[in-house]
């Protein structure tokens, strides 16, 4: 660091840092409080864009929309990592540097703290009247008595570490110190943050999660292929997941009169390996534990039970089709793909389920989320669904590239309206569609993360460490007893952090113990003002 302060006029005399020197210089800078502070502020700044721009891990569709809406600078932002801020190089760099700085700052402090822990309180300073908090009194009690009383007052309850001393002039002293845990708490807090980071990173490596949509009466097994989406950390052997199964027996949803949800509950049967099947429930704030994983209720909706007969009268499709809710009244959108017709075109149906349908001349909407009057409103497509091309398709979207919409004679698209329990003819002689039932489905999130316990433990340790480091007062108290014939002059002084409001009280407490020993008197206030009282004015203005 000397290089930065050397006069620029004498560059030849600069000591060469060398590689080792340069590394040491960088390390010193990095572990300085000033750089740590800069990194903290930088961390706050770089976290902001992730809350403003859509983020791929949270909402990939929103990112795609944003890129489509901003074709000019969207791709640039994308390249710079702005759509995955918290996984980006620059965000990671800031917090990793911060943690390096933290470790570099904390490690030397552990050694220093260990030495301080073993050290004795420092000897009494020569003059007490220079301290903001100091007081003098004169007593008839004996020196040993006074020291013993003060010692007891310092040790008892407050746990001061006390060191007696004797000065060349014959005066006896006590040096006392408390609040060692302040630094302990500080170190524990910072180390716990490191532990927190490591356990979160371990969790990233060892976690796996899957999403699955389950219709009432059906279930799934805990294998990657059973999930609609599945992702796992690189440390997971996906072949060795605990093979539990979950079956959805029923799903209950309640809403208030305004249609706001009040209660969701999925009744499930869980079968874990080597265990009997058990019936239990999953609610929004009450996930299910199975095979070390947790299963959360993430969403719900309706899956109309449909039967499609083709033009030959054969059953071409039969089963529940999940429709995705679009609004609070569960107007739900869905797609029915019927590839297995015995002859003719494949059939695609696209449209809405209205749980409590209100259909007028020009509009159709759902008035309430419960199935008061379930109606399907569908449009019909015919042609090639494109399922044989080998390209994976979104089950909630119809690929209309090889299809044509069925229209009536004057060219307007035909809309098929099917109330629950009814069967209608499909236009264009495609066959029939019957709406046989309306089971509900649930969207379940399965998550396995072995690091959760560690994350919680380190977080709690950090919290405790933080509280201890901020609320433990660090104080030093000194006492000097000088014998003057019949009387003893007792001087006390104390030192603490500038924001410690209880320091004067601490000295008072010790001197009160001395006063109880016998007759005492305060020296003439003009000769030696009792600063302890004045200093209270600092904190307690009138």
């Amino acid at each position: 660091m000397a290089t930065t302060t050397s006069p620029p006029a004498s560059p030849p005399t600069l000591p060469r840092l060398g590689l080792r020197g340069a590394i040491r210089w960088v390390w010193r800078q990095l572990t300085s409080m000033r750089v740590a502070l800069m990194l903290l502020m930088l961390l706050a700044v770089v976290a902001v864009p992730g809350s403003i721009l859509p983020q791929r891990p949270q909402d990939a569709a929103a990112v795609a929309r944003y890129l489509a809406d901003n074709p000019d600078w969207g791709p640039l932002l994308d390249r710079l990592g702005f759509f995955d801020v918290y996984g980006s190089v620059w965000f990671s760099a800031v917090y990793l540097l911060l943690f390096v700085s933290l470790v570099g700052c904390i490690l030397p402090r552990i050694g220093a703290h260990a030495r301080a822990w073993r050290a004795r309180p420092p000897r009494a300073p020569r003059r007490f009247d220079r301290f903001e908090v100091h007081e003098t009194l004169s007593t008839e009690a004996g020196t040993d008595e006074v020291l013993a009383a003060a010692h007891r007052a310092l040790r008892g309850g407050r746990r001061f570490r006390v060191e007696p001393g004797e000065e060349p002039g014959g005066a006896r002293t006590l040096s006392a110190e408390r609040g060692y845990f302040r630094e302990t708490g500080n170190i524990v807090f910072h180390l716990a943050l490191v532990g927190l980071l490591i356990s979160v990173a371990t969790g990233q490596l060892l976690h796996y999660r899957g999403q699955v949509l389950v219709v009432e009466g059906r279930g799934f097994a805990n294998t990657p292929s059973a999930y609609d989406t599945f992702d796992a950390g690189s440390g997971v052997d996906t072949a060795s997941l605990v093979p539990f199964t979950v079956e959805l027996n029923s799903f209950t949803a309640s809403f208030d009169s305004a249609g706001r949800p009040t209660f969701f509950e999925a009744a499930v049967s869980v079968t874990e390996p080597d265990q009997a099947t058990r019936d239990t429930t999953i609610r929004v704030n009450r996930p299910l534990d199975a095979g070390g994983a947790k299963i959360y209720l993430a969403g719900n909706g309706y899956a109309p039970q449909l039967t499609v007969r083709d033009s030959d009268g054969n059953v071409a499709f039969e089963g529940p089709v999940p429709f995705l809710p679009q609004d609070a009244s569960y107007r739900s959108r869905g797609v029915v793909k019927v590839p297995d017709v015995t002859s003719g075109d494949q059939i695609g149906l696209v449209g809405y389920l209205l749980p409590t349908a209100v259909i007028t001349e020009d509009s159709a909407y759902s008035a309430y989320p419960q199935p008061g009057n379930p109606v399907l409103v569908l449009q019909v497509w015919r042609g090639d669904l494109g399922l044989d091309s080998g390209v994976p398709q979104n089950v909630y979207q119809l690929d209309t590239a090889g299809m044509a919409q069925v229209s009536d004679a004057d060219g307007t698209p035909v809309t098929v309206v099917v109330p629950l329990g009814e069967e209608v003819e499909l236009p264009g002689g495609l066959g029939t569609l019957s709406f046989d039932g309306l089971p509900r489905y649930v969207a379940l999130d399965m998550r396995y993360d072995p690091s959760l316990g560690w994350v919680l433990a380190f977080a709690l340790t950090a919290l405790v460490g933080l509280a201890v480091s901020l609320f433990t007062p660090r104080r030093r108290v000194w006492l000097r007893v000088a014998s003057d014939g019949e009387r003893r002059t007792v001087e006390a002084a104390a030192l603490a952090r500038a924001d410690d409001g209880g320091l004067a009280g601490e000295v008072e407490r010790v001197l009160d113990a001395v006063r109880e020993l016998g007759p005492w008197s305060q020296p003439d206030p003009d000769a030696a003002p009792t600063a302890a009282h004045d200093s209270e004015d600092v904190d307690e203005p009138r």
Binding site: R34, L40, L466, P541
Partner: protein
């Protein structure tokens, strides 16, 4: 009239009481200024005056005893390493001697009585709201503002029992009146139940602590603002030359204000840390992940980082108490944005305020 409407009326009553109390606190401040300007000539170098008395040869011994404490704390002792503060001049006693006796007048008594009355009304309003909605009454922004200001005023009131910080009244009450007024007009929601995602005892834990932390931070930032004002006034800032600013001389020393702000911010920081952690635990229960960088989570994190920077700045040599106070103010600004702006502008999963942009 049902319980919910009664609650709203009572909260209006509390707001009115606070508004009058605010006026009385302001009148009291004006009176302090008057006392200060008639009885005392503004001393130009108060800090120096203190430094002269206890500085000089004396500081050597203190510094010797202090150095060790400093070393143990590793840059963490004795607050901001301000050149002025470094002298450790006990400006308190000397300045206090110069100050004229200030006897609180009727205004201050009225203000304190109305504050207490307002607290009672507000508590009643909160309880009625809880009964009306049949749940914990702090689940949307209106309720958060009502309970948050309650905690802020209560913190102030409790501080008043332990030390005379009544000069903070105008700041805390003024802020509370504005927040309550906004809550009652712009963010008002009738009392009703909560959706399944909020049906958890973590609502009680997470949001309660968040409200308390916000209240504590509010009082702390009031002290920081006064600290900056008084500091500027003592430096002879031309913008504070008007005689009315002499009331700043009646306030505790800059150091005391700084220490008060720090102690409150420290409490607030621990509470906020707990808020974020409790939120993570709840998110783990409700959303299947403990941390997902939802906008509210991002901004709660930023609040935490800014207050962490405040605590570090305070113990870093070379940072003046003034600069540190700006951190306290920045932290509070971010906190308020997290409370309001995030819901109104950024959306996300915390859209329970009733004012989210995604509704409707």
């Amino acid at each position: 009239m049902n319980l919910g409407e009664l609650s709203t009326i009572v909260v209006w009553g509390a707001t009115t009481a606070y508004a009058i109390a605010f006026g009385a606190f302001a009148a009291d401040l004006a009176r302090r200024a008057e006392v200060a300007s008639t009885k005392r000539v503004r001393h130009t170098t108060p800090v120096l005056a203190g430094a002269l008395v206890s500085g000089g040869e004396a500081s050597a011994d203190v510094a010797e005893a202090d150095a060790d404490l400093d070393g143990l704390e590793n840059d963490a002792a004795d607050g901001p390493a301000d050149p002025e503060a470094a002298d450790d001049a006990p400006d308190g006693p000397d300045v206090a001697d110069e100050l004229p006796e200030y006897r609180p007048g009727k205004a201050l008594g009225i203000a304190m009585s109305l504050t207490t009355l307002g607290l009672g009304l507000q508590l009643a309003g909160i309880v009625l709201r809880g009964l009306a909605a049949e749940r914990i009454p702090w689940a949307n922004l209106y309720e958060f503002l009502v309970v948050g200001t309650f905690v802020a005023v209560l913190t102030f009131r409790i501080l008043c029992l332990r030390r005379d910080v009544r000069f903070l009244g105008a700041g805390v009450l003024g802020f509370s009146v504005v927040a309550l007024g906004l809550g009652l007009t712009a963010f008002y929601m009738p009392a009703q139940g909560v959706e399944p995602a909020l049906q958890s005892y973590w609502l009680v834990i997470h949001v309660t602590i968040a409200v308390i932390a916000t209240g504590v931070f509010t009082v702390a930032v009031s002290a920081s603002v006064l600290q900056l004002l008084k500091d500027a006034w003592e430096q002879g800032s031309p913008r504070l030359a008007h005689p009315r600013f002499r009331l700043l001389g009646q306030l505790p020393s800059v150091r005391s204000l700084e220490a008060l702000a720090f102690r409150l911010n420290a409490v607030g920081f621990v509470l906020w840390t707990f808020t974020v952690m409790a939120g993570a635990v709840w998110a783990e229960h409700a959303w299947s992940r403990f941390w997902g960088w939802d906008p509210k989570e991002v901004w709660s994190f930023i609040v935490w980082v800014v207050y962490a920077a405040y605590l570090h700045a305070r113990t870093t040599r070379g940072w003046s108490a003034r600069a540190v106070a700006w951190f306290s103010i920045a932290g509070f600004a971010v906190l308020i944005f997290n409370l309001t702006g995030v819901n109104m502008l950024l959306g996300g999963k915390h859209t329970y305020s009733g004012i989210s942009r995604s509704q409707g």
